[in-house]
Every structure is written in C-alpha cells, then in structure tokens.
Symmetry: C2
Subunit: 345 residues, 2 copies
C-alpha cells in the first residue's frame, strides 16, 4: 500500500471511494479498490473507518498498488433522510469523500451507499451545473438494451418539462462521449408515437424539445427501449424507477422460469450459468455503476449489492468519466440550452 502524495500532472486518476457504503462494505469495497488499483490506471482513495478498512486491506496483497486510506467517522445508512444525515454526520465516509472531490484532492467519487444521500451530498457540496435545478441518474439501464441511454432513472419523481430538457441534453453528451454515438437521437417516452398521444407532462415537454437544438425524434413507446428508435430515452424519475425495478423483478422471475422449463434439458451447471446470465441482462449493468448527471464533478453511484468486481467496475466508469471530461461536456451543453432559451425568450 502506497502513501505518497498524489495529484502530480502525470499521476493516475484519483478516485475517492466511499469504503463504508453498500451492502457488503467495507469487505467488498476494499476488494474492489484492490482489483481496480491492480488493473486500471487509477489511484484509489479509500475513505472509511481506518481500523476496519485497514483490517480488510491486510487480507489482500497490496504490494505496489496505488491505494490510500483516508480516515472518516461513521456512515450514512440507507434509511436515513439524506439531507438530515449529511448535516448530522459531517465526518461520515460519504461526506469526507465528496469533500475530497470538491477540494481537488480527488478527480472522481464512487459510492455504493444510499443513492439519495450521494445525490444530495453531491448537489450540496459540489453544486449543480449552471441552470440545472436538480441532478439525475442516467445511462443504459438494461443489459438487453446496452446502447439505450435512459434519463431520469429514478431520482426526480415530479419533473417540469424544462428539467426533462436539461436531462435530455446531458443524456446526449453521455451517449456521444461514452458510447460514441454521433448526434444522438432523443425520444420522449409516451403512450404512442403520434404527436397527440401522451400525458400533459409529455405533451408540454414535446413542444419544448421541438424548439430546441436537440436531435429530437419525437415520441417513443415502451417497446422502443429495444428497437433502437432513439439513443436517449427521456422520462421522469417515477417512470424510470418503476421500469428499473420492474425489470429486476422480471429478470429474477424469468431466471426461475428458465430453471424450471429447461431442467433436465441442459446440464445443471450450464443451466445455472444461463439462468444467472438471463437475470443479469434484465438488470442494470451491475458492473458499470450509474454516473450522476448534472453536478460539478465526476460522481458514480454503484449498485448497493455490488461485490468486488462491481465496485471495480464503478471505479472504471468513474475513471472514464474523467478521461472523457463528461462534466465539462454537460456544462457546455446546458449553457448552450440556456442561452438558446434566453435568446429565444
């Protein structure tokens, strides 16, 4: 384990990891940090209770790995009110890790802990990008549709049309920089392809989208997560949350259905592996983590149930966000939207 100072121009990207966040922390977060430091050009700043983090580190071979331990006190629990918890626990792993990013002592933040607290902490400590009321979670949400970017995946349950427009713009930056899609096509999730179909929120947003510089292809429907009709699908966080959890439930049920239907027709181990794979393609790409769109810094929220490889995957996503300068891209895109609106207004 190295303890040299970090931050020189040619040093690897520094990722602050909330070592206490997640269902299997700190054992699996520490494992993930070790995997990441071994396989990726990153330095991992493990933020957590020193004793328990170091105890976990001792179980690993960390010779020559770029891992630092940054001590913190306590953690924010899943069931705490995000903003109140942030205030009550200013030395918790999440708050200390977020401050590292704010102060320029880290380049990115990764947490497997409470999504609400991570988002609230990032908004309060890092601030949101200009003109944006609230950040959102975005990215591909389904293994079976790995190139369809969905915003908002569940953070904002009531969205005004202008907020949806901001989310769409950030989704496009992500699709372009992260997935390499040129001029991403944006679709608004609705109940029919026809312009006249949809609820009030969608119909209002539609007008706003049509008047913007986005490559807006109109309304898309539930099946279009799979048809490739749009690269970025925009919905409010209520619908995004329901869909995300629906597919998780469906994937588990489908895996069970396959186990039963194919019993005796495939070798048992092959069947088990196949059922797990089916469960996986029906879920969030677990090893990726979800980038937070719209805050002043690279923040990735990983799945709470991540094991070591999932943690390492989220660290890799954070590293890529920094390398691709996603935050600056989103800042520029939002500024352009804002100036459009002002010049039109």
């Amino acid at each position: 384990m190295s303890t040299e100072a970090t931050g020189a121009a040619d040093s690897p990207i520094r990722v602050a990891l909330d070592a206490m966040g997640g269902d299997y922390a700190p054992a699996e977060t520490v494992k993930g940090a070790v995997i990441a430091a071994r396989t990726q050009p990153v330095r991992v700043l493990l933020v957590g209770d020193r004793d328990s983090v170091e105890a976990e580190l001792e179980k690993q071979d960390t010779t020559g790995l770029a891992i630092d331990v940054i001590p913190s006190k306590g953690k924010i629990e899943e069931d705490e009110h995000p903003v109140q918890a942030l205030r009550r626990k200013p030395e918790s792993s999440l708050v200390v890790a977020t401050r590292l990013l704010k102060q320029g002592n880290a380049d990115a933040l990764v947490s497997m802990g409470s999504t609400g607290a991570t988002m609230a902490g990032a908004s309060l400590i890092l601030g949101t990008l200009g003109g944006l009321e609230r950040p959102c979670l975005g990215g591909p949400f389904l293994g079976l549709a790995p190139r369809t970017v969905v915003v908002d995946m569940g953070s904002n349950v009531d969205c005004r049309p202008s907020l949806l427009l901001g989310f769409a713009a950030m989704g496009c930056v992500f699709a372009h920089r992260f997935l390499g899609v040129e001029n991403p096509r944006v679709g608004l999730l609705s109940t029919g392809a026809e312009e006249s179909k949809g609820n009030r929120q969608v119909l209002e947003a539609s007008e706003l989208f049509k008047g913007s510089e986005l490559n807006f292809v109109g309304h898309v429907e539930g099946m279009d997560f799979f048809t490739g009709k749009a690269d970025v699908i925009v919905c409010d966080g209520f619908v995004g949350n329901v869909l995300m959890k629906f597919t998780e439930g469906l994937g588990a049920t489908m895996a069970g259905y396959l186990r039963k239907s194919l019993e005796g027709k495939l070798p048992a181990n092959e069947l088990e592996e196949f059922a797990s794979r089916v469960w996986e393609v029906n879920s969030l790409p677990k090893k990726m983590g979800g980038p937070l769109f719209g805050v002043n810094g690279a923040v990735v929220i990983g799945h709470g149930a991540s094991k070591g490889d999932g943690v390492a995957g989220a660290i890799d996503t954070a590293r890529r966000c920094v390398e691709l300068d996603l935050v600056e891209g989103m800042r520029a895109e939002l500024a352009a939207l804002l100036s459009e609106t002002i010049s039109r207004g």
Copy 2:
C-alpha cells in the same frame, strides 16, 4: 348456422362480436366465433359486412352452431379519432355491436378493433357506472404474473386520485370474482415502499386510499408485480401503457436472446417452441382479452393481432364476465365508495 331467435331465459349467453375489428378480420374473427360456438355455452352474434362475413363462414363447418350474422356497414380504423369515427360511422360493426348490448339483444360485446374507439363507444352508448368519470382497462397483464391485476392498463394517461380509487375498487371486484381472491390487497405503484416516497399523484392518492374501505397495503414497487405483495396494483394509464409495451418489447428481445444463446443446445423445434413460450409469458395473456372496467355492460377488448383462438379466448372471457355478474359487482362497489365519500364529506 342457426338463425333462431335468441334471448330466452335458458338460452346460452349471447356475445356480440365486432367481426370487422382486428388485424386479421374478418377471417380470424369468424374462425374465433366458430371455435367459441363449438366449445363454449355461447351464441355468437357476428356483426359485420354480410358478404365478407358469410364468405368466411362458408369456409367453416358451422352445422348446428349457435352463430348469427348481424349486418353492418364499414369499420372504424385504428388511426381514426375515436369519437369522430363513432359519429361518422353509425352503422359500422363496432357501433352496431355495441347497440345490440345496449338494447338487450346481446349479453356481452367483444372487439379486437381500435381500443380507443371501443372504449369511447362503450362509454357513449352504454354509459359509465355511477360516479365514474371514465372507464379503464384492467386485468392480469403479464403471463409471468398471471394473478396480479393491474389497473389502469393504458387508457387514462392523466388520472386524478379519485379516479384511481374507482379503478382500484373495480380491480378488487375483478380479482375477487374472476380470480377468486378473498379480500384482495390493493397496492399503489410507487418508487419505494415507504409512505413518504412517490410523486404528487401517488402521495395524494395514498391519503384517499388509506381513508377508504379498500384493503390497502400501501405502496408497492416495480418488482412487486412478481412478488405477490398485492393482488391489485394501481397506476395511471401512462405508466400502465409504458409497462405493457415495455414487456412486449422485452419478450421479443428475450426470445431472440434465447434462440441465439441456446442454439445447438436444444433441438431446433424445441428451441423455437420454447422461445415462443417465453415471448408469450412476457406479454398480455393474449387469449384472454381485457375486460373494460366501469361501463354499463360486459365489454372485452381483445388484442388486435389475435388469431382465431385468441378471439375465442376473448369470447370466453366475456362469457365469464356475464356469468360472474362483474358489472353489477363493480356498480355496487363504486356506489359503496361514493356513499362512503359522501358520509365522510
């Protein structure tokens, strides 16, 4: 083919079928009518252009079957504005079939045609049940979750909380009478099980549900379509529509995924049969049709792509709705809700 008068007390249930509605009408609607008349205790009233319906009937063996042809003129197309089309085409198959029900010359109506036009026609001609602003579509929506009743499955994209309460009450009557569930548990679809989570619509509806006589179990999440936490899941038609179409897209994609993953591991015909079954369990129970909740009459809307067996299935659902006296049950339940509200108010 029989042409005797119908309607005697001991005669079979008379189902008016919109023979011109659906993607494969009238060939498959006529086939479905023949299957139904042969296998179920029903008399089918085939409403459609006499020449084309009779031409299809001649291809079948209808000896001794209780099938009548009721002539009509023209049909309402999928892309027509429902209410305008109903006014412009008063002799169309849908309107004539709906009037048969209204006038007591049929006991139920089945259509595979435009959902919007069937709903509008039923609302205008039959009327909605007391106190209800609009009807909705409900029932199990997924082969993988055959005992979870969902209301609204896509008809009302903007719902006030009171409308959701009415839908819930009707969903309970359906779950009780049709699926045999005692005292059905009602869940409101939201973004978390906690009372504080959800959008404005859900939070307001939640208060209303808590104050009602429904067996309300609180908020449920996307995975709870599969967990059995509630027998009736209530959402607005926007979310219902998105989910329904999402699963159809997912089912098709999953079937393709299985074909590819299991190629060479199962015999080709077995694999194909299996992939089709997977597609099916991810879709609306196609052979059932969706009962329309909240109109003054038994109306079942079948899938537009139904073949003969799907049409026969929808006719069977309509017959069961009549036998179970679903409409009277819903009327009573809505009246009770209304009197509750008045007595509390």
